[in-house]
């Protein structure tokens, strides 16, 4: 039993040691656990900011969703959201509804819709990278395409 207690103590020490850092907490650090509600991001053409805001508002209006991230690249627009826990049984139907609504309302846009936590996390990270000065538009577009490809691999 002493070994068991030692193991528990060791595990607690490892977990607590992660909290000792005094750096400010970034959104992406807790994006998997809490609502971050990131602002929409436009990578190349900044004049579409109103439309991106509108897309986010439209997607957020779904009562089953609670955290929406929108990233607009050159060609694609990435829409990632989190689904409320009890509605996760209907993930496919929700994705279908969101896709249908977006395609009807914005027929000229090419949407990539996902509810994957990893894609959400990467979208938040991308937003933070873009905010920091040493991340060019080219780099951002490259990373954006990688994230979009990640969603395609899941299908």
């Amino acid at each position: 039993m002493i070994t068991f207690y030692r193991f528990i103590l060791f595990a607690c020490l490892i977990l607590l040691s992660a909290c000792s850092n005094n750096e400010p907490v970034k959104d992406s650090q807790l994006a998997l656990m809490k609502t971050t509600n990131p602002k929409p991001v436009i990578i190349s053409n900044k004049k579409h900011s109103d439309r991106v805001e509108e897309i986010k508002k439209d997607v957020s209006s779904h009562p089953e969703l609670y955290d929406v991230a929108v990233v607009k690249g050159k060609k694609d627009t990435l829409v990632v959201y989190k689904v409320k826990h009890l509605h996760r049984f209907r993930m496919k139907a929700i994705e279908k509804n969101v896709n249908k609504m977006l395609e009807e309302k914005y027929p000229k846009e090419n949407f990539t819709v996902s509810s994957d936590y990893k894609v959400f996390l990467e979208a938040v990270r991308l937003k933070e990278h873009i905010k920091s000065s040493d991340f060019s538009d080219q780099k951002a577009e490259k990373r954006f395409n990688e994230i979009v490809k990640m969603t395609e691999d899941m299908k």
Partner: protein, 159 residues
Amino acid sequence: MPSNKQKNTTLQQRNYQQLQQKHEIKRPVLKNCIKAFFVGGLICVIGQAVSYFYIYFFNFTEQSVGNPTVATMVFFSMLLTGFGVYDRLGQFAGAGSAVPVTGFGNAVISAAIEHRTEGFVLGVGGNMFKLAGSVILFGVFSAFVVALIKTLLVMWGVL
């Protein structure tokens, strides 16, 4: 009216059964269920933390993170079985520690330890999957059946 089973027993046997029933310790079913619920839940919370770890630090998506998570949890339980910790947990939590995937690792390693004295090939190799073999067999077979049903439903346009 006495049942058929009771009819075939003698008076002495019936008296003994009554005495045995009087002294039999009742199983604490509710207590066991609560213990199993919390320990099983705790194992699942650890599993969720492991999957978040893989999503956060590696390139795994929510769909692909299952494989490394299961492998890690089975590996953890194998180590704990080797150190003799998981056995104690099993005594305390019962089904709470046997039903999650960690119970699979425990079944493999405990059988290997038990038959170690019979040698590596016929002892460990031959008996390692004595318990876990049925899990693999029925797991693979039921997965095959479910995949077959899904394929047929997709072919017929139901899904």
